[in-house]
Symmetry: C2
Subunit: 299 residues, 2 copies
């Protein structure tokens, strides 16, 4: 595993700050009877999270010289989508989580109805942002982006992964089943982030495929590390309640592989992710750092 370059954490923070400003701009507080919905949307979206998906989107687009105004629009869309999925996943009928990003979850802070509507509104806005001319002057790029996000998030992607996670018998699930589930549940949207950067950057087919392979391995490395942190992390660092998957008897990568082998597998996938980026040379430094960070992070 390569060391993180000194530029990585400042770059992560810089992009987080920039995307935060864009999210703040698209979620202005409002007066009137819809005040509470917008307040809850702002509560869910602003002021928290690692913003890894925005980072991945912007860092990929940066390699192609895409203007930040464009890549931050895509990054804001994917962060709205990600936040919607967290708000709905945390609901009592789903994972029933009380803590997220170090704060009470939306249904705890507000109520369940508001949390359902917050998720619905954020999902809707994600598509609105991608259809906006800020994303790209060519409408063909914008519709491709809408389609790509819908496919990553819809019933062949994230939503299906979540449904399978709830429906599957975790006693009987094997490594292949869990890998497929996680590829749908979290991998598809991570793949979208790289695809979005490539699309904005008019990447060649070779570059697009390299980024797709990178995103695939990155997503798995990231998820395996999440499973490790669910066992080894603490609530303060994670900003969410650890130990829940284990307590629920879920077939996580740690449950299937054991802690040490899961760690090794994540490290191997992180390295492998970086190797897919050879064709980009030094330009891919931040993406390689991200692959290393996905594995060594403690939050």
């Amino acid at each position: 595993m390569a060391d993180l370059s000194p530029a990585f954490l400042p770059a992560l923070e810089g992009i987080a700050t920039a995307v935060e400003a864009r999210l703040e701009a698209v979620l202005p507080p409002v007066e009137g009877p819809e005040h509470r919905l917008l307040a809850a949307m702002r509560y869910a979206v602003l002021g928290g999270g690692k913003r890894l998906r925005p980072f991945l989107t912007v860092a990929t687009a940066d390699m192609f010289g895409v203007p930040r105004a464009q890549s931050l629009q895509a990054a804001a869309a994917v962060e709205l989508l990600h936040t919607y999925s967290l708000v709905h996943d945390d609901l009592p009928a789903m994972d029933d989580d009380a803590l997220r990003r170090g704060q009470p979850t939306v249904h705890v802070k507000f109520d369940e109805a508001v949390a359902i509507l917050v998720g619905d509104a954020l999902l809707t806005m994600a598509f609105e942002l991608l259809a906006d001319a800020r994303l790209h002057p060519d409408a063909r790029v914008r519709v491709q982006m809408v389609q790509a996000l819908a496919q990553a998030a819809g019933p062949q992607g994230m939503v299906a992964g979540q449904a399978i996670d709830l429906a599957v018998s975790h006693d009987e699930a094997d490594l292949a089943a869990i890998t497929r589930l996680q590829q749908m549940k979290t991998g598809a949207v991570i793949g979208f982030c790289c695809a979005a950067g490539a699309l904005l950057g008019a990447a060649t087919e070779e570059q697009r495929l390299a980024l797709k392979a990178y995103a695939h391995d990155l997503g798995l490395a990231f998820q395996i590390t999440d499973d490790v942190l669910d066992v080894t992390g603490n609530a303060t660092q994670l900003g969410k309640s650890p130990g829940k998957d284990m307590a629920a008897g879920k077939a996580t990568f740690v449950a299937l592989l054991g802690l040490e082998q899961a760690r090794q597998q994540a490290a191997m996938l992180g390295d492998q992710a970086s190797q897919h980026l050879e064709i980009f040379g030094e330009r891919a430094k931040l993406l390689r750092d991200l692959a290393a960070f996905a594995v060594v992070r403690e939050f």
Copy 2:
């Protein structure tokens, strides 16, 4: 109020059948662990409902000679969106309804988690359908459609209307507040249907504004009639439980105006809706019928 033309009900049924076929095509049953999600999506979407929004979309587009393959794609998208809103609105944390379209609601037939995910998936697919080249060969039209639907359904439209409906003090709500609420909650998407037909048909500004005015009055006439039927209808005809708004002490149009004045107001709005269509002459026959039907229907 004009009489319904004999062509109306067959036309309504014909478009319902055609949109059903399109919905069936975009929601194929699947094998594997995601089977249950897709089965629940099909349960929610197929085989029921008046399909008034698809009718409005297709009938508007027909006036401009838009190919049915295109208008049915828009109609399928709006019906997926409408169904998502019903599935989420029926959840225990929202309106807590057990009956919809004459069948158990999705969370009753399956469970709450599945119902949340079904709504999320249908909303996502609605945007996917609008981004698809089937809708229109010009990507600019497709992004405009995505934006229009997002605005109608998002935190300035339907979702905000639903949030206000849950948050507002119905004891204090007056006619202006309820009209605004309903304009957001149901009117915005009805407006989208007409806007979609106009957009596909490359309508002139004058035509677009006439259709917008029509949709505004139609939406209100429709909603007032819904409130009337909540008092006078029965579960078999309605396919949902009547009397709930009244029992919950909601500030419906009937509660504010009384039954007779609400009926008169709906009839007046239905007439007024039709009058906005004068510039279309005989071409607008079905839309005028729809305005009449919105008021005289018993389901």
